[in-house]
């Protein structure tokens, strides 16, 4: 499979000594969805700005659709679509007018442009509103129009910067479905930035976790989680066990570690929780301890994040300053 995006050692510093990117490298194969995950201020938007030729790196190399972003930005622009976090829709024009102008900038014209615009309007459920001014569209509709505008010219790479931020949960679910469909139908490579762990987990075939301008971890979500080799096993006993009773019962089990007992609750980490459960239950029963319920939790991306950066994702969100020095809580709210 060819490379849709190749990034090596990207460095970007802003005035006032803010280092937004400190040597970022990753690769996105053609036709896949790649997630760039990280808290606000990690460098996701900066990376996208460089890859979409809005911004130039201080050093490093970035190739998109085979063209170097610094040396051949024009070639890159012809091949990419971008949906920024802030909507780029011209709100004083209709949906159709927005799409037609966008297509014209890529040299599309006449009948084929009209047909493509109709196709996109239908596909994104905007046909009825096509001739209404975009100002009258709901938030979800504007977002869909933004995506349609990014696709008019049939790019080979699509950038989605925080596509579901600010949307209702129901709309978000629809958006996820649509994004997953896009990669499949149009053969697109999609680079998706998000600070929602669940979104990255659900949509991305591969992801990179950015933290303070560096790639903290990269790989497929399942691979990253499997690497942790630590499912959480949680057992509720019928009654509080005698001191040392649990350790005696489970001590000889391989692959079960970090056993912690609190009252009637028993927590442990197991390499493979599903496989460990029968052994744990048998051992506890043999030790005379009656089990009420058992839960197994697969590691989450939050656990992955914790492993690679030493902090929980939620805490990281609160700490990091954004590149222009704004308070992250305010930036997230704004």
């Amino acid at each position: 499979m060819g490379e849709a995006i190749g990034v090596e050692g990207l460095v970007k510093k802003y005035p006032k000594g803010v280092t937004a990117l400190d040597g970022v490298s990753f690769e996105v194969p053609e036709g896949t969805i790649f997630g760039l995950l990280g808290p606000n201020g990690a460098g996701k938007s900066t990376t996208v700005k460089i890859l979409t030729t809005l911004s130039r790196p201080d050093s490093g190399v970035a190739r998109v659709a085979g063209a170097d972003v610094v040396r051949h930005p024009h070639r890159v622009r012809l091949a990419i679509g971008s949906v920024a976090q802030k909507s780029g829709v011209d709100r004083d024009a209709t949906g159709r007018e927005n799409l037609v102008l966008q297509g014209r900038l890529y040299g599309m014209d006449g009948g084929s442009l009209g047909a493509r615009v109709d196709e996109l309007l239908n596909r994104f459920g905007l046909a009825d509103a096509a001739d209404r001014v975009a100002r009258t569209y709901s938030g979800g509709m504007q977002r869909r129009l933004d995506i349609a505008m990014g696709l008019v010219h049939r790019p080979s790479v699509l950038f989605l910067d925080e596509p579901t931020t600010g949307l209702d949960p129901a709309v978000r679910a629809d958006m996820w479905q649509m994004i997953a469909g896009l990669a499949a139908d149009e053969g697109l490579a999609i680079l998706l930035t998000t600070h929602y762990l669940e979104e990255a987990d659900r949509l991305a075939a591969r992801l990179a976790i950015l933290e303070r301008g560096r790639v903290a971890a990269a790989g497929a979500p399942e691979e990253l989680k499997a690497e942790l080799r630590g499912d959480a096993v949680h057992v509720e006993l019928a009654e509080a066990p005698p001191d040392g009773g649990v350790q005696a019962a489970l001590g000889r089990l391989n692959g079960v570690r970090e056993v912690v007992v609190e009252g009637r609750a028993l927590r442990a980490r197991a390499d493979d929780g599903a496989r460990a459960v029968p052994a744990v239950l048998q051992s506890l029963e043999a030790g005379g301890l009656i089990v009420d319920s058992v839960t197994v939790a697969r590691p989450s991306l939050d656990d992955v994040y914790l492993r690679y950066t030493g902090r929980r994702f939620g805490d990281a969100e609160e700490e990091l300053p954004t590149p222009n020095g704004k308070d992250p809580a305010l930036a997230a709210a704004g």
């Binding site: 809005l54 622009r77 920024a84 909507s87 780029g88 004083d92 900038l105 890529y106 040299g107 001014v133």
Partner: protein
């Protein structure tokens, strides 16, 4: 058609179409000029009796000045559209496309020129109804409008440039109110130049607004002094080149800041 021209055309159409959806905007921008033309013009009609004024009809004298003033203010407000596009993410969206960068600014300036033609037609039409006469004929009137456009385009470019640098509506509004109005009074829009205080005459001599008024008035007069017309238009063209350079620098500064 070369791509730059095509893109400029698309951008111009976009701006004009959005403007046509708010036709009241043109009426709104004409309100003050009409007040100046009709009320101020009537109020000060007898100023032509001052010896040395050089004109028999104040409204004929004033009309080209009001055309220039209107064009100047329309140009000043151009930056607001740019601030809007910058704020809304529209500019960045365009910058990701292969759009010719020059077209982004030229589109607003061509739209400005079209609006000025419309505004000028209305003002001059009203002046004619009030009894003004323009011996210079259609050519003269055309040159008045041309002078106004040659003034407006550089000021529009500067307004856009300021918008790109500061990106705040308040700054554009402050610049329009505090810079343009003094420029209007430090020109021959309301008063014959030879009757202005000496220091104002000196300032007017280097004021592009005055170059436009002088050229326009000279073109519609009974005896056209072509050297005056061409010299002023030439200076305005030079001013336009300088403004274009400054605006381009501002655009580049914006691109570096993204």
């Amino acid at each position: 058609m070369p791509t730059s021209l095509a893109h400029t055309w698309y951008m111009t159409v976009r701006h004009l179409r959005n403007l046509m959806r708010q036709p009241w905007y043109i009426a709104f921008t004409l309100f003050q000029p009409i007040i100046y033309l009709l009320l101020f013009g009537a109020l000060f009609a007898r100023v032509v009796e001052i010896p040395g004024f050089g004109s028999a009809s104040y409204i004929s004298f004033l009309a080209p000045g009001v055309v220039v003033m209107t064009a100047l203010f329309s140009a000043g407000w151009t930056g607001m559209g740019m601030v809007n596009d910058l704020d809304r993410g529209v500019m960045d969206r365009f910058l990701v496309t292969p759009v010719r960068r020059g077209a982004l600014m030229m589109g607003t300036l061509v739209q400005l020129a079209v609006v000025i033609v419309i505004q000028s037609a209305i003002i001059l039409g009203l002046a004619l109804l009030r009894g003004a006469s323009f011996p210079g004929g259609i050519t003269g009137v055309g040159l008045v409008v041309l002078s106004a456009i040659l003034l407006a385009v550089p000021f529009g470019a500067l307004s856009n440039g300021m918008a790109l640098l500061v990106r705040k509506e308040e700054t554009v509004i402050a610049a329009v109110n505090f810079v343009l109005l003094p420029l209007v009074f430090l020109s021959g829009i309301f008063m014959a130049q030879n009757l202005m205080p000496h220091w104002m005459q000196s300032v007017a001599h280097v004021n592009p607004v005055n170059w436009a008024v002088t050229a326009g008035r000279a073109a519609v007069g009974r005896e056209v002094d072509w050297s005056v017309v061409w010299s002023r238009l030439g200076w305005l063209a030079g001013f336009a080149l300088v403004s274009a350079f400054l605006a381009t620098q501002a655009f580049r500064a914006y691109q570096r800041s993204i």
